[in-house]
């Protein structure tokens, strides 16, 4: 058996098998899910160092070729391994998460497996039409998972499928345009990715620009960048957390950004203007979504808006077109999938144990849910870009990319967005884990290893990818942009890569050298740890009182702490009360900028269909007259 096929075939076949089994056999479904995703993970891990291709001619559509071609290169080999890992962790979590109160409904495990297979196939595909097929498989599974998961999920599922479907159609159109352009240029196998990489399409003319914008729309819809983002917050409230963590949280980001990176780096050569558009969309996404996130009262919606906001960094990084920025964008995609999945899964634990996601009704759970708290803390710090966690490293690279590209405005936006993210997560941590605990939540505790292991693995990855950032950068992100890892002992590819980019783009040399200040994650961590240690020692020896608790009295009566609770939802109300911005945010909450809702209100032509036969006859004769005119006068 061809090893390249395995990461697609194993989850695909187990998924179809699970689909054929009745849903009542829950344990068997779970076992199949675990087996299939574990198989995919192992098969993909075996591919990590493999650079190979699989080719089987399939069919021709007129001038286009649709071959069953897979290729593991520096990008796809680790991306597929990551897909397998996420699949396994999410299935494991699902086994622990569902219980009598809410069972898996509909084809749950089959869809997870098929989504894994689809995502693995999409990143491995070496033929663009094959990519489209796998890509749409992922969209379809998302729809089925959301539509059948919860009874209230149907409208959100429909919205998600429609917006993602728009993106799919844009992708299809872009791929066909690419293929026809290449076929007209007389190239063999016009849709093989290698053909596209060898002959990148210029974006100087209108058609090339259209192709790029269609690809951008496809990636934006999948990953959830503004203005095609609105399905993620809607879906968040109506879908089970593992589904949110898996598809919008992890796989859809991987796919969207994978596509964008391939398009910008290999298949097309985007002009400055188009790169600027990408960066603009990225920075608008960062800011607008983070402002929306700050206003949320529902943990799931809040996380969903952050999931949108983070896509902005990836687009911004890739849009800079500088090596460090692109690497940062791709690395951020990887990091984001890790911490975002972790956040959604932590939120799932909170929902399962506390029974609510409303921030005002949560609080003080850090003792009840210690593992969840720890993992959420790590992930929250990571998404906020606090060193030495992984989110910081990739954001740092994106910042540098902005500097190299000479776009200080975008740099400021990105920095500001990061600050607001931190502010928003302070609110989350306060509202869920700190502050006073409502009495109703006193008995909450966390249960089940299957729930906690995935959280711990993801949180550990956040730390490892931050402290030892050079390892993924050298082994994965570098190869993704065409820098194969150095032989052991040689210097870090990151540094060399930056210098190479610098040499390749003389115009950018004017950028101040300080912007290349290399971040040394290991020594920085050591310094940070030292700082924290000194602080702790000072606190300990200085007998500092970290926290004092006093009872509050009014008129001699102690006040019920329940009354005096300060939920985090009040934190940033002032932002919503700002004169201009507040109104815009309120409109955003109402869905004014939600393309889907706008579309639903389209004016229709029903008035014309009066039901009068004479009107209809009139149209027919009008049509005949016009046709006669056409045939007589031309």
């Amino acid at each position: 058996m061809e090893p390249l096929l395995l990461p697609v075939l194993i989850p695909g076949v187990t998924g179809l098998l699970a689909l054929a089994l009745p849903g009542r056999l829950r344990r068997l479904q779970q076992a199949l899910g675990l087996l299939g995703t574990l198989g995919a993970l192992v098969a993909a891990a075996a591919l990590l160092d493999v650079r190979a291709a699989f080719f089987r001619e399939w069919l021709r559509l007129g001038p286009l070729n649709l071959d069953f071609a897979l290729r593991a290169d520096g990008f796809s080999s680790w991306a597929v391994a990551f897909v397998g890992l996420m699949g396994f962790l999410v299935v494991l979590y699902s086994v622990g998460w569902f219980r009598a109160a809410e069972r898996e409904r509909g084809p749950y495990y089959p869809c997870l497996l098929l989504a894994t297979a689809g995502a693995a196939g999409a990143v491995l595909a070496d033929n663009l039409l094959l990519l489209v097929l796998f890509w749409e498989l992922v969209s379809l599974t998302l729809f089925l998972l959301a539509a059948t998961g919860r009874a209230s999920g149907a409208p959100a599922a429909a919205k998600a499928f429609v917006i993602v479907g728009c993106g799919d159609m844009a992708l299809l159109l872009a791929v066909v345009l690419c293929g026809v352009l290449h076929a007209d240029a007389g190239l063999e196998r016009p849709l093989a990715a290698s053909t596209l990489a060898a002959h990148p399409i210029g974006t100087g003319d209108g058609l090339g620009m259209l192709v790029f914008l269609l690809f951008l729309a496809a990636a934006a819809a999948k990953a959830g960048a503004i203005p095609l983002h609105s399905w993620i917050p809607t879906l968040a409230r109506e879908t089970q957390p593992p589904v949110m963590a898996f598809l919008p949280g992890a796989l859809d980001k991987v796919l969207g950004i994978y596509l964008m990176a391939r398009v910008s780096l290999e298949w097309l050569s985007p002009s400055h203007a188009l790169r600027f558009v990408t960066m603009l969309i990225g920075s608008v996404t960062i800011l607008a979504a983070v402002f929306m996130a700050m206003q949320q009262h529902d943990l799931r919606r809040l996380l969903a808006f952050h999931a949108v906001s983070q896509v902005g960094y990836m687009l911004l990084g890739i849009g800079t077109g500088s090596l460090v920025g692109v690497m940062g964008g791709i690395f951020h995609m990887l990091n984001n999938a890790i911490y975002k999945a972790c956040l959604f899964l932590c939120a799932g634990v909170v929902e399962r144990e506390a029974g609510t996601m409303e921030l005002d009704r949560l609080g003080g759970l850090h003792r009840n849910l210690p593992v969840t708290f720890g993992c959420m803390l790590v992930a929250a710090l990571s998404i906020s870009g606090v060193p030495p966690l992984n989110g910081f490293v990739s954001k740092w690279m994106v910042y540098q990319g902005c500097v190299v590209a000479g776009q200080p405005m975008f740099l400021i936006v990105a920095l500001f967005g990061s600050v607001l993210t931190l502010a928003s997560f302070v609110k989350v941590l306060h509202s869920v884990f700190w502050g006073a605990r409502p009495r109703a939540l006193a008995a909450v505790n966390e249960r089940g290893l299957a729930l906690r292991v995935p959280l711990l693995v993801l949180a550990a990855l956040c730390v490892v990818f931050g402290v030892f950032a050079t390892v993924p950068l050298d082994q994965a992100i570098g190869p993704a942009v065409g820098l194969e890892p150095p032989a052991t002992g040689a210097g870090s590819v990151v540094l060399e890569g930056r210098l190479a980019a610098w040499a390749a783009a003389p115009a950018e040399r004017a950028a101040p050298a300080a912007s290349f200040a290399v971040f040394q994650p290991l020594s920085a961590t050591a310094l940070l740890a030292l700082g924290v240690l000194v602080g702790l020692l000072l606190a300990y020896f200085g007998r500092m009182k970290v926290r004092t608790v006093r009872s509050v009295f009014i008129g001699g009566e102690p006040i019920d702490p329940e009354v005096n609770r300060f939920p985090g939802t009040e934190f940033y109300r002032t932002v919503g009360e700002l004169p201009g911005l507040g109104r815009v945010l309120a409109q955003g909450e109402k869905g004014t900028f939600d393309l889907y809702q706008v579309l639903e209100r389209l004016p229709l032509l029903r008035r014309l269909h009066t039901g009068w036969l004479t009107d209809y006859l009139f149209w027919c004769f009008l049509g005949l007259t016009v046709l006669l005119g056409v045939f007589f006068w031309t």
Partner: protein, 507 residues
């Protein structure tokens, strides 16, 4: 023995027998129809799929030579790639509908008459597809048309009668236009056989304005039959009003055999290449695509929604034909074939859902996936097919249509087609959301799945959608390709009318 005439004889005979059985055994008619459709299916497999393309001179009145001119003296039936595609389509869908009808019609009175009309409808469609001359084409179009007017009115409620009346009037306008066009061609060329007409026109026997006049009339007449905008207005009334099996026949087959087939045949084979026709088809097709889907978006009545989608999907077929290349014709015919499968499945589903929920309004349904899993699976499958989601067949034909349009130099129309495909997706996702998913409303708590005899044929049609989508590289493509090759030469997209002439007229 040549099996081709049986395609017309079997349903005609069945219609006659149904009428005879009316007084004797009312249930016999049902069995006669089942036997007839089964026989047609067998014929389609035996004679349709592998059959050699050939022309059959009925009654031995073959080609004559007078004064050095070859012409066809009698009636010919022509089986080529194009007619084969439509024969198979008719056989597949009508067999499924006949099985479905057994249970669906159990409560209707006047069933034998229904079966008479049903068989006449099939006979008309098969005859139109096989006819080798213009006048027979017209006759068979009328046979099918008249049967369909009566079938739309079969419920004899006010709504049905009104719809049938409108359909009758507009259908008569279409027939008049077609007859006038046939008359114009006949008057100018002196022949009716399609091959002869082509030869005469190519020799310059018909003046250009007269030919343009005939072309406009043909387009109006068959455009009306195909519900091409602006000739579509009868369809949203007629298709929903008919009983579900007939809606499936009308939307799934009739608009294609009387509309698409006739237009492809006349402008692909009978009238030599004319650069204006593709442009007209592109414009009217785009109009139908866009307006049809916009109208469908706002519908709450499931069957009306499906009817508007038929207009929109026929627009896809016509823009593909308007690309005027072999690939475009193949894409259009493939889409017509796929549409026959999934739209008839959807109309049958709508009938089943109406039975289950007691209403056709989407707002009155909900959560039916819990009460009627088999019908729901069938509906989801068919809806995914029409929305163009892989691996269902609709994805491939829409992909081919977009490809053909871009290839033929119409990227703008391709973008419109893609946008319409998205809107169709929106509309069908809405159907699934409102009817199948979500909470089960209280009044549907006792809803029950329809009998297996009704669900099974729908599931077969949906399975065919899937199979066509999965297997089309292995066999389906050559089937569609040979149908398109009857219109365009595959290699260079020039007209392949010469092959047709050769087949009918000989050397």
């Amino acid at each position: 023995m040549d099996l081709v005439p049986l395609f017309v004889i079997v349903p005609l005979l069945a219609a006659f027998l149904c009428l005879l059985a009316k007084g004797v055994l009312p249930n016999l008619a049902t069995w006669i129809t089942l036997a007839a459709t089964a026989a047609l299916l067998a014929l389609a497999v035996l004679a349709g799929l592998p059959g050699e393309s050939h022309a059959l001179a009925v009654g031995g009145w073959g080609v004559r030579v007078e004064a050095g001119v070859r012409f066809v003296a009698g009636i010919v039936l022509v089986l080529d790639g194009l007619s084969r595609l439509f024969l198979v389509m008719v056989a597949l869908v009508s067999a499924a509908v006949a099985v479905y009808g057994v249970q669906y019609l159990a409560s209707f009175s006047g069933r034998p008459l229904f079966h008479v009309l049903f068989n006449l409808l099939i006979a008309g469609m098969n005859g139109a597809v096989l006819a080798g001359d213009l006048f027979n084409l017209f006759v068979f179009v009328e046979v099918a048309g008249i049967a369909s007017y009566a079938l739309v009115a079969f419920g004899t409620e006010a709504e049905e009668l009104e719809a049938a009346f409108k359909y009758l009037v507009l259908g008569s306008v279409a027939s008049t236009a077609i007859l006038l066009a046939v008359g114009v061609v006949y008057a100018a060329s002196g022949v009716l056989n399609m091959a002869d007409v082509h030869a005469r026109i190519a020799a310059g026997a018909v003046s250009r304005p007269l030919l343009g006049f005939a072309a406009a009339l043909f387009l109006t007449g068959f455009g009306l039959k195909a519900a091409l905008m602006p000739f579509h207005a009868w369809l949203p009334d007629a298709h929903p009003s008919a009983p579900a099996p007939i809606s499936a026949m009308l939307s799934g087959l009739l608009i294609k055999t009387l509309g698409v087939y006739a237009i492809v045949r006349i402008f692909g084979t009978v009238i030599p290449e004319d650069g204006r026709i593709p442009v007209v088809l592109l414009v009217l097709g785009s109009l139908s695509m866009v307006l049809g889907v916009l109208l469908a978006l706002g519908q709450d009545d499931l069957k009306r929604l499906l009817a508007y989608h038929s207009i929109s999907q026929m627009g896809f077929v016509f823009v593909a034909l308007g690309a005027n290349t072999w690939l475009g014709v193949a894409a259009g015919l493939f889409h017509a074939f796929n549409h026959a499968l999934f739209k008839s499945a959807l109309f049958l589903c709508s009938g089943a859902l109406e039975r289950i929920a007691g209403t056709r309004r989407l707002s009155g349904m909900g959560g039916l996936v819990q009460r009627a899993p088999a019908t729901s699976v069938a509906t989801i499958g068919a809806a995914l097919s029409i929305s163009g989601v892989p691996p269902f067949n609709g994805f491939w034909s829409k992909l081919l249509i977009i490809l053909a349009l871009i290839r033929a130099g119409h990227p703008g129309v391709a973008v419109i087609a893609a946008a319409v495909a998205v809107m169709a997706l929106i509309s069908f996702v809405k159907v699934q959301r409102k009817a199948l998913f979500g909470p089960l409303p209280g009044h549907l708590a006792a809803a029950r799945e329809v009998p297996a005899a009704m669900v099974a044929p729908i599931l077969v049609l949906v399975a065919l959608c899937l199979v066509t989508g999965l297997l089309w590289p292995w066999g389906v493509d050559s089937f569609i390709g040979s149908a398109a090759a009857a219109v365009k030469v595959a290699a260079d997209s020039s007209s392949s009318a010469a092959d047709y002439l050769h087949m009918v007229l000989g050397r």
